[in-house]
Each structure stands twice: as structure tokens, then as C-alpha cells.
């Protein structure tokens, strides 16, 4: 079935984005204790309440045990060996791109995100996070005119402390899980978005960020609040350089949608997956949760995941408001020695809530992928509706695809449908394409894209194109 030579070629293919920037980073020494946390808080001149929040979370984290999951295997992480703070040396924040270190700008060019071009053509505001500190923030004025707040968490702590304090940790409390507690204690920065009542955010918001310094855990914290009747679309895409040591990424994303509000959160993830022996890739342990707080609110998660050595994430929706809607669209590709255990949780609490889950997994080489989903219908959740479709496509005979859906129903008026299929690209399909002139690789690309089409349709346009390219590149050489 699989051509050994081709597969070998495939796994040896260079990680396209792998490189390192030489900027001096101002890192804290490795290790985690109260002092480090005070240091982090102090460097950012955080208000007292925020420091206390961190300390509380840290105390709680110390009581918790490292989680062990059955289907994801990794060597134990030594949390004392990680440096929790790294920032490029600078005195004050740059006021415009002209003030940004040209070396940094060249970095961004290499990453394929020329800020200038983006500024001119797409009009997308970019909050580029370089390691653990925000470096450039563009378009804030335009957004400010619309009333939209789009800044880093650090800035929000200074300029919008009441807003931040009201909502931070209200969707993912520090007690939620091990990595959420860790994040709450040591998060260094991230994005804060507040869209006021009745405002439709005028542009797609996005963040690019990467991990640079070695042994630096990346603990980003994102908080997006859409007030009554507002709309915001947020794009998250990240790349990371090649490293020898495993790099930990334990982010927390909290979304809050009030009455009639809608948040669209899209992710294209292409983190370093590790070399052919599975060494050195990113560990992506993320807690992402959306709270459909208001009636008729709507949160949708769309993701295309092709990287990381290990992925553990379950973007979830709590459908609290009546008539609220939660959606999850995902394409996950695992190749090489990647392991992914991802899925979603849809918790139906209000009345007439609806959730849709469409998950497409593609496994190649020795990739192992699990979909783990939970649909829970509470006793008072009248007329809940869920539709779930999980499909896996296996390429090559050494990979694995697994599906573990948990369906818990306590209300009879609920209507749930769940379907899952696992298959491979059929020889008939391949032959048909080839008999029409396509090469085998192109045929696979075509078929896989068709397999994922539903998901790509949900992505904002710029991302959709990038995602499709990413998919083809990810599967190059995976032909069996």
C-alpha cells in the first residue's frame, strides 16, 4: 500500500518555516515559583488584583496533578526547566512600524506576513506577538472609531482594567484544568477584544505569533467579548521555528457572546511537528471555550490544524442563552509522528439551542489522531438540537484515526444525530482522476480538498486560501 521511499521522503521534508531570529531576548531564568510570577507581573506594571489572580491560580496549580491521557504520549515535562518570560530588549513600545526593530520586520517578512502589504491591501489589523510581549499594534485608531477595543492583554490591564477584571477567567476559571491553572498564573500576553453593543467589527482581527527563545513556554491568553447585537471575526494563525527541545504551548482562549451577538473564531495552525523521530515539536495544550451567554448568541470555531507534535485541544461552547448556536468545524492533519487528541464540547443548557460539529481528520504516515467530543444536554435544555459528523481519511497503513464521542442526554425533547465514518481514498476514485489526466498527487490533493470542503467554506476568505495551500503542502509525498 504505502511506498516506503516516498513516505521516507515525506517525513524528511524540511519544515518550511524553520529558522531562528538573532534578536537578543530578555529572558527570565528557567523555573517557576512565586517570585517569577511577581517578576512577570511587575515588569508589566500590572494592577494588584491581577497579581493576586495569578498567585491564586499558581497556588491551585501546585495542588494539581499533571494530566495523563490514554491516547497521547510524551515524555514528562519539567516545569522548572522552562523560562516563563522572554521579551526583546527595548525601552518603550514602538509608536508606529517605523520604530520597530528592522531585524524584527525582516523576521515577519520571512514568515510571509509582510505587514506593509497587509496594511495596504487587506486592511487587517495585526497584533503581532513576538515571544511573550506585544511588539506592533496597527489600526487601533480605525477600530477605536468604531468603538472596538483591540489590544494586548497587558495594555488592557492598564487602560481597561474594569472590563478585563469583569470578564477574565469567567469562561475558563483557573480551576478548570492543569494547563488552564498554569496559564492563569504565568500568562505573559495575548489579545483582548471588546466589541460594544450593536457594532459590527469593520475588519477581520488576527494575530500571528511564534515562539522563539528556547525553553520558553508560550502562555497566551485571549479574551474576546461581543456585547449585545455585535459581530466580530477573529483569525489566529501561527508558525514556529525549529528547535531541539520540546516547546510547550498552553494557551487559554475565552469568548463571550451576549444577546444576539456573534463571534467567529478561526485558526490555522502550522506549528513545528517534530523531526522524523518525533523529537522537538511543539506541544499544543490549549483550553478554548465560548460562552453563549445571551439569548440568540452565536459562537463558531473553525480550525485547520496541521502542526504540533502533540495537540490537545477541545474548543467548546456553553449554550447558555435560549436559541443560542454553537458550531465547530475542523480539519486536522497528522503525519510523521504527530499525535492529536482534539475535538469539542457542546454543553446545552438553555432552550432551543443548536450545535453543529463537523470534524474531518486526515492521518498519514504514522500520525495518530483522535476526535474526542462531548455533547451534553442538561435536564432543562428543551428542544436541543445537535448534528455531528466526524469523518476520517487514512492515507497509508501505519496511521490511526479514532473517534470517541460522548453523548449525555437528560432531556427527551432533544434531537441528536451523530455519524462517523473512517475510510481511505478509494482506488476507484484515484483511477478516475488519473484517467482524466491528473497525477496521483494532484488527485489526492483534489480528493482531500473535496473531503474538507465543508470546513474551508467556513473560513474567512484569506484564511481559506492559506489553509488549502497548507493542506496540499502537508500531504506532499504522503501518497501510498
Amino acid at each position: 500500500m504505502s511506498n516506503a521511499t516516498e513516505l521516507a521522503e515525506f517525513t524528511e521534508r524540511e519544515y518550511e518555516y524553520g529558522f531562528v531570529t538573532d534578536i537578543e531576548a530578555d529572558s527570565a531564568p528557567p523555573g517557576l515559583n512565586e517570585d517569577v510570577i511577581r517578576q512577570i507581573s511587575g515588569r508589566k506594571s500590572e494592577p494588584e488584583w491581577l497579581l493576586e489572580y495569578r498567585l491564586k491560580a499558581f497556588a491551585h496549580w501546585q495542588q494539581m496533578e499533571t494530566p495523563e491521557w490514554s491516547s497521547v504520549h510524551h515524555p514528562p515535562i519539567d516545569f522548572q526547566k522552562i523560562s516563563y518570560f522572554a521579551a526583546p530588549r527595548k525601552k518603550d513600545g514602538p509608536k508606529s512600524l517605523d520604530e520597530v526593530d528592522p531585524e524584527l520586520l525582516r523576521t515577519y517578512e520571512k514568515l510571509g506576513i509582510p505587514l506593509d502589504e497587509q496594511k495596504a491591501l487587506a486592511g487587517v489589523a495585526v497584533d503581532a506577538v513576538f515571544d511573550s510581549v506585544s511588539v506592533a499594534t496597527t489600526f487601533r485608531k480605525q477600530l477605536a472609531e468604531a468603538g472596538v477595543i483591540f489590544c494586548s492583554i497587558s495594555e488592557a490591564a492598564q487602560e481597561y482594567p474594569d472590563l478585563l477584571r469583569k470578564y477574565l477567567g469567567s469562561v475558563v476559571p483557573h480551576t478548570d484544568n492543569f494547563y488552564a491553572a498554569l496559564n492563569a498564573a504565568v500568562f505573559t500576553d495575548g489579545t483582548f477584544v471588546y466589541v460594544p453593543k450593536g457594532v459590527r467589527c469593520p475588519m477581520e482581527l488576527s494575530t500571528y505569533f511564534r515562539i522563539n527563545a528556547s525553553n520558553t513556554g508560550q502562555f497566551e491568553r485571549t479574551l474576546i467579548i461581543a456585547d449585545d447585537n455585535s459581530y466580530v471575526s477573529y483569525l489566529e494563525g501561527c508558525t514556529a521555528p525549529m528547535r531541539d527541545e520540546n516547546q510547550l504551548h498552553a494557551a487559554v482562549v475565552e469568548l463571550i457572546a451576549m444577546e444576539d451577538a456573534e463571534i467567529k473564531y478561526s485558526t490555522v495552525q502550522n506549528w513545528y511537528p517534530g523531526d522524523e523521530h518525533g523529537v522537538g515539536g511543539i506541544y499544543n495544550f490549549v483550553t478554548k471555550r465560548g460562552d453563549c451567554r445571551g439569548d440568540r448568541s452565536h459562537i463558531s470555531w473553525t480550525q485547520v490544524e496541521t502542526g504540533s507534535a502533540i495537540t490537545w485541544k477541545y474548543p467548546s461552547c456553553i449554550l447558555r442563552g435560549d436559541d443560542s448556536v454553537g458550531e465547530f468545524y475542523s480539519v486536522a492533519v497528522t503525519r510523521g509522528r504527530q499525535q492529536a487528541d482534539t475535538g469539542t464540547k457542546m454543553i446545552h443548557i438553555g432552550r432551543n439551542t443548536t450545535s453543529t460539529i463537523i470534524s474531518k481528520g486526515i492521518s498519514a504516515a504514522e500520525g495518530q489522531q483522535s476526535y474526542r467530543g462531548l455533547v451534553r444536554i442538561a435536564g432543562k435544555a428543551e428542544n436541543a438540537r445537535n448534528y455531528t459528523q466526524c469523518d476520517s481519511l487514512l492515507i497509508g497503513d501505519r496511521c490511526g484515526a479514532h473517534t470517541y464521542p460522548y453523548i449525555e442526554v437528560k432531556n427527551p425533547s432533544a434531537k441528536l444525530e451523530h455519524e462517523a465514518t473512517t475510510s481511505k481514498i478509494s482506488d476507484d476514485q484515484l483511477f478516475y482522476c488519473r484517467s482524466r489526466g491528473l497525477s496521483e498527487e494532484d488527485a489526492i490533493s483534489l480528493i482531500v480538498n473535496g473531503f474538507c470542503k465543508e470546513i474551508f467554506n467556513e473560513l474567512p476568505m484569506e484564511f481559506a486560501v492559506e489553509a488549502q495551500k497548507l493542506l496540499s503542502v502537508s500531504l506532499e509525498g504522503a501518497v501510498g
Binding site: 453523548i407 427527551p412 434531537k415 451523530h418 462517523a420 501510498g480
Partner: protein
């Protein structure tokens, strides 16, 4: 491990001397039981933190002081006339092996000789064929508490050997009857069914009781299907509504063998099935249809594993759950396809119909696929009676309650109609109607 957990049951195991109940003809069995007894003392009791017990409460094992049956079984006092009400009309003359309170009751059983079925019993006089020791004695390293408990406490069991090729398919009923005792008792029957190459059998396995009583039936049945053999297996769980029932089933299929199961569970306050279908040989096929009924104060749990270890096998499982009142159903069905099991076709489906507000269903169909040239799928649905269908019936004059009953019966019939033998199918229909009637459907 919490030492106070399972104290009652562990003490029961320690107090019991395994040798007492099995005669010396089979000393290896005593060894097996002692070994299992020693494991029990260290094994953690199933609890909610274990994935396999996540939704299934197990308090009764801590709260009830079960005892084992006395040596003199009550079946001595039973006559055929006493159990007549339990027999399925139309099947009275079938070959039948009867177990009363976990022990073979020769006086109530009847097996025609010379028809290719040989019966041994674990507590019986005759020596077991040596090959069977291996079948019964397989050490269980998976840490399954109740299975190990059965190993430690088993007092008797049927060893059914089908060894005559060709001819008509023989039918055999394996009938369990529990007679209530003043104190709660735990029964641990242990059965083995072996079909030799190119043989066939129809096995009707039933769990019934006389009168309402409290007991725990911890039953194990292992089935080995040799090459080209064929088993039609009907499982009917009709336990007392106060009882606990745990049915372990393992089916091993060799090349070109065929396993067809239709099951119906309507009794017991607490019922759990742990079934494993294991494909050992290529081109084998397994098909299971099951109906799970959970009404007032009932918990019914089906844990199913279908293990495709070799290529070219097919499996299809379809389980339907019907919930009323405060009934609860747990369904966990896992399809595992190993790396080399190419050309596997496996499908699993669980549909649940909830009739009441206080019912609960937790369903988790799973796929673990390590081979690529396969076709695997699963599905799960949960819903209530279709209002459009109800209205249609009512608009034709059928009263609401009757309309609901008709739709529930239709839902159940999809499984019941899979039973090909008319007397048994009629009996199953009656089981469903009785359950619905006693529930008043909407509860």
C-alpha cells in the same frame, strides 16, 4: 485504593473456600479459583473515575452483603411443573439445559443424545476434555473486577460442545432460573460453548426468575467458533425487577465463522452487558441486534467491544434503547481495527427513544482505526416520539396512549423481528408489551 470499597464482596471471596464446591475431578479449577481470589484482594473496585464505569453507579456492591448459595441448591425441590410458567410456549420440547441459582439442574434439563451436542458441567462427574481447560482458565489480566470475581466464586457452569458436522442446525436453550432466597445471593455461573469446525447451533440464552427477589447474577459465557462454524444466539434478560445482572460475553471467531446475535434486556434494576467480539480468523462475520429497555428505576448498560485483529472480517451492531420514567441507559460500543486488519468493514449504530423527562441516556460509540483499507462507521441518535407520526395516528382516531404504544412497539419491532424462530419472537414481543404496559409508557 480505598480499602473500605468493596469490603463486603472481598470478605465474601476470602471467606469462601474455593475447593468446596468443585469436585476433585477438576483440581485445576480449584487452582484457578484460588488464584482469582488472591487477585480480587488487590483489585480496585470499579468506580466513576474508570472510563468503563463512568456513567454506571455501582453502590449496590458496597451496600449489600451478598452471600453465596448453600451447597444444597433449591432446585432439588423444583419440578418441571414449577417452572412451566417460565418456558416459552411452543418450545417446550426443545433441548434445554437449566441452571437454578447458578447450578445445573439435571432434573429440569433434557438433552437428546446422539444429536451432536455434548454437555459437561463444571461441578459434574465427568472430566472435562483437556483442551477446554485453556478456554475456561484464561487468565484475565485486564483487571476486570467482576469477571475475576466470577473466576473466584464460580460454582458451576455448562460446557457445551457441538461436534457433529452437517445436518440440521440444532437448537438448545440455556435457561437460568433464580429462586429468591431470604438474603441477597450472588450467583456466578460460568459457561463455555465450543463449536467445532463446520458445525452450527442455535442457542437461546435466558435469564429468568421465580417471583420477585433480590440477587446478583454475575454470569460469564465464553463462545468459541471454530472455522466455518455458525452460531445463532438469542439472549433474553428477563431477571427479577429487583435484581442485578452482569453478563460477560466473549465470542472468538475463527476463519469463515459466523455469529448472529439478537438480544433483548428488559429486567433487573441494574443490568450490564460486557461483550467482546474477537476476530481471530479471516473472512468471519458478526452481526448483533439488541433492544435495551429501561423503565422505572432501571439502569441498563451495554459495553461492547468489537476487535478486528485480522483482515477481511465484517461486523455490524445495531442497538436500540427505549427509555421511560426515570430509566437510564448507558451505551459504550468500541470498534477497534488493528494495523493489519485490512479490508475490514465494521458498522455500529445506537438509536435511543426517550419517552420521559426524567430518563437519561449516555452513549459513546467509538472507533479506533489503525488500518487504512477499511470501511468503518458508527452512528448514534437520541430523540423522542415523532410528533408528526403521533398526530397522524391520532387523526385517524387512535387515542394518544395507544398511538404512543404503537410507535414504541414499532421501534422495538425492528430488533424483535430479527428473531427467526416464531415462538421465541412471540415471546420477545410479549416481553416488550409487558414492559410498556407496566411502565405506562410515558411514566
Amino acid at each position: 485504593m480505598n480499602q473500605s470499597e468493596g469490603t463486603l464482596i472481598r470478605r465474601l471471596v476470602c471467606d469462601r473456600h474455593p475447593e468446596e464446591t468443585i469436585r476433585d475431578e477438576n483440581p485445576w479449577l480449584s487452582v484457578l479459583k484460588k488464584e482469582a481470589a488472591s487477585w480480587i484482594s488487590d483489585m480496585p473496585l470499579p468506580n466513576r473515575k474508570m472510563e468503563a464505569w463512568r456513567y454506571t453507579p455501582i453502590e449496590f456492591i458496597n451496600k449489600t452483603a451478598f452471600s453465596l448459595d448453600a451447597e444444597e441448591a433449591p432446585f432439588e425441590a423444583l419440578d418441571l411443573i414449577d417452572i412451566e410458567e417460565l418456558l416459552i410456549p411452543g418450545s417446550e420440547s426443545s433441548d434445554r439445559i437449566v441452571f437454578v441459582n447458578g447450578r445445573y439442574a439435571p432434573g429440569l434439563s433434557g438433552l437428546k443424545t446422539g444429536n451432536g451436542i455434548t454437555l459437561h458441567t463444571l461441578a459434574g462427574d465427568s472430566k472435562l476434555p483437556s483442551g477446554f481447560k485453556r478456554q475456561i482458565g484464561h487468565a484475565d489480566l485486564s483487571g476486570r473486577f467482576f469477571f475475576t470475581l466470577n473466576n473466584a466464586l464460580m460454582s458451576d457452569g455448562a460446557v457445551i460442545h457441538v461436534n457433529q458436522q452437517g445436518g440440521e442446525r440444532r437448537r438448545l436453550e440455556l435457561l437460568h432460573i433464580t429462586v429468591g432466597m431470604p438474603d441477597p445471593v450472588i450467583h456466578n455461573p460460568r459457561h463455555l460453548v465450543v463449536l467445532e469446525r463446520n458445525t452450527s447451533l442455535e442457542l437461546v440464552e435466558r435469564y429468568t426468575s421465580l417471583g420477585k427477589s433480590t440477587y446478583f447474577n454475575n454470569a460469564v459465557i465464553d463462545i468459541h467458533l471454530s472455522e466455518e462454524s455458525d452460531l445463532l444466539h438469542t439472549r433474553l434478560q428477563e431477571e427479577s425487577e429487583l435484581a442485578q445482572h452482569l453478563g460477560h460475553l466473549t465470542v472468538k471467531l475463527e476463519a469463515h465463522s459466523n455469529y448472529r446475535q439478537v438480544s433483548l434486556a428488559s429486567g433487573a434494576a441494574w443490568s450490564r452487558t460486557e461483550a467482546q467480539i474477537i476476530f481471530n480468523g479471516e473472512h468471519a462475520h458478526a452481526e448483533l441486534d439488541g433492544l435495551i429497555l429501561a423503565g422505572s428505576k432501571q439502569l441498563n448498560d451495554v459495553h461492547l467491544e468489537v476487535l478486528h485483529e485480522v483482515p477481511n472480517c465484517t461486523s455490524r451492531e445495531h442497538f436500540k434503547g427505549l427509555l421511560s420514567s426515570n430509566g437510564k441507559i448507558v451505551f459504550d460500543g468500541r470498534i477497534l481495527v488493528a494495523r493489519d486488519a485490512q479490508k475490514t468493514e465494521a458498522a455500529l449504530n445506537n438509536e435511543n427513544l426517550m419517552l420521559s423527562r426524567s430518563a437519561e441516556v449516555d452513549t459513546k460509540p467509538q472507533l479506533e482505526i489503525f488500518a487504512d483499507d477499511v470501511k468503518c462507521s458508527h452512528g448514534a441518535t437520541v430523540g423522542e416520539l415523532d410528533p408528526g407520526m403521533l398526530f397522524y395516528l391520532r387523526s385517524r382516531g387512535i387515542p394518544k396512549a395507544q398511538a404512543e404504544r404503537m410507535l414504541c412497539t414499532a421501534f422495538a419491532n425492528e430488533v424483535v423481528s430479527c428473531i427467526s424462530e416464531t415462538p421465541i419472537r412471540d415471546h420477545a414481543k410479549r416481553m416488550v408489551l409487558q414492559h410498556l404496559a407496566s411502565e405506562g409508557e410515558t411514566g
